[in-house]
């Protein structure tokens, strides 16, 4: 395991130490703000690296309009066989070398980073059996950095402490607030996508809404169960990445919404309105035409979701 994990510890601790050095002159080397920003810096860096993948995926989603007739044909032909329908759809994408679906790898690639950060921060919080703090150095987080990080606080709670690992009220309050924040961002992201970001759906709409309701209760539970075991630093990482996801989606829905979604129609209306004001009514009239065919094709998305049941 070591040969996989050691480079990860080096990356995570290296990035943290780098951002620590960047922010030290501003907030002070031992300041909790500096260390919190180091963790957030790590998130921002990872998410920026992932942006091109995200853009690529969006582009290929938009490119799908050209395949509309074929997709419709497949849907009609295999109305009663969802599996066959999914198979044929995948074949079609592959044939045209476009795939609107994300790949699993980028999402899962974040998991080892998360795990490495967890280990690095847990190392900071390590204690001997007698309860004497004995931080374990991992990667570049050693020597004075290690001692400084071990004392760093986020709103009065040490970033190395966890809800279950302490009796301090301040740590418990901060972890609970962070868990609530994570639940809230996840839920708003989800809700925003459902109400604005997705094409209008037919029968499967109900199922999605149902799912959303379940998630409303399930997510705080998942976050609570895992969150009480995680050091505050990991929760900072998690909260930041959630906030980023929300912001990124907000931007896309506002500026470049999926064709057929309510947000898309709103944008079209705004553009048409603006064009009219500018005296270019042709541009405004053209937009509904572009809109119409796109709406139909995007309706297929909910059907694909059902393959999960298999």
């Amino acid at each position: 395991m070591g040969f996989i994990l050691n480079p990860l510890y080096n990356i995570v601790s290296g990035v943290m130490v780098f951002f620590h050095n960047v922010f030290s002159p501003i907030f002070g080397a031992d300041s909790g703000v500096t260390w919190s920003l180091s963790i957030m810096g790590l998130v921002v860096l990872i998410r920026i690296i992932l942006i091109p993948l995200f853009v690529k995926q969006i582009k290929s989603q938009r490119a799908l309009t050209a395949l509309q007739p074929q997709m419709k044909a497949i849907q009609n032909k295999y109305k009663d066989d969802r599996q066959k329908q999914s198979e044929e759809m995948m074949k079609l994408y592959k044939e045209h070398k476009t795939n609107p679906l994300a790949s699993c790898f980028p999402i899962l690639a974040q998991a080892p980073i998360f795990f490495a950060l967890f280990t690095v921060l847990n190392g900071i919080a390590a204690k001997t059996d007698a309860g004497v703090p004995a931080p374990i150095a991992r990667g570049f987080l050693k020597g004075e950095y290690l001692e400084s990080a071990a004392q760093a606080k986020f709103f009065g709670a040490k970033i190395s402490e966890s809800f279950l690992g302490t009796d301090l009220l301040s740590v418990k309050i901060v972890t609970v607030i962070l868990i609530l924040f994570m639940s809230a961002t996840t839920f708003t992201t989800q809700k925003q996508l459902m109400t604005k970001g997705m094409p209008k759906m037919d029968a499967s709409n109900n199922m999605m809404l149902q799912q959303q309701k379940i998630m409303l209760y399930l997510f705080p539970l998942i976050f609570a169960i895992s969150g009480v075991n995680f050091p505050v630093g990991v929760l900072i990482y998690w909260s930041t990445t959630n906030l980023w996801t929300w912001g990124q989606q907000f931007y896309v829905i506002k500026r470049n919404p999926t064709p057929g979604s309510p947000a898309y129609e709103e944008l079209q209306r705004k553009r048409a309105h603006k064009a009219k004001l500018d005296g270019k009514e042709i541009a405004g009239e053209r937009s509904p035409e572009v809109e119409a065919p796109k709406v139909e094709g995007q309706r297929q998305q909910p059907k694909k979701a059902k393959k999960k049941k298999k």
């Binding site: 074949k91 994408y93 679906l101 790898f105 999960k308």
Partner: protein, 84 residues
Amino acid sequence: MKRLADLLIKAYQAFSSTREAKCKYYPSCSNYAAVAIHRYGLKGLLMASWRLLRCNPWSHGGVDYVDYDLDSADALANMKEGVH
């Protein structure tokens, strides 16, 4: 072990179903992993890992079953006909 793997995959699926992004392969990586591990154990775990590596932004995805002869829509349809 197989049970644990199954549980982890189920948990992942519940968690990830809230996001818009879905796998570019059919069946999805998690479904593939569940079948592979159930059927082949440790070898299945390796198969699933290999599939995850292939499911990257530069691949084109497509139809990819653990065993095409057993799992594909055509295979299932044939099986049904055989029973009747």
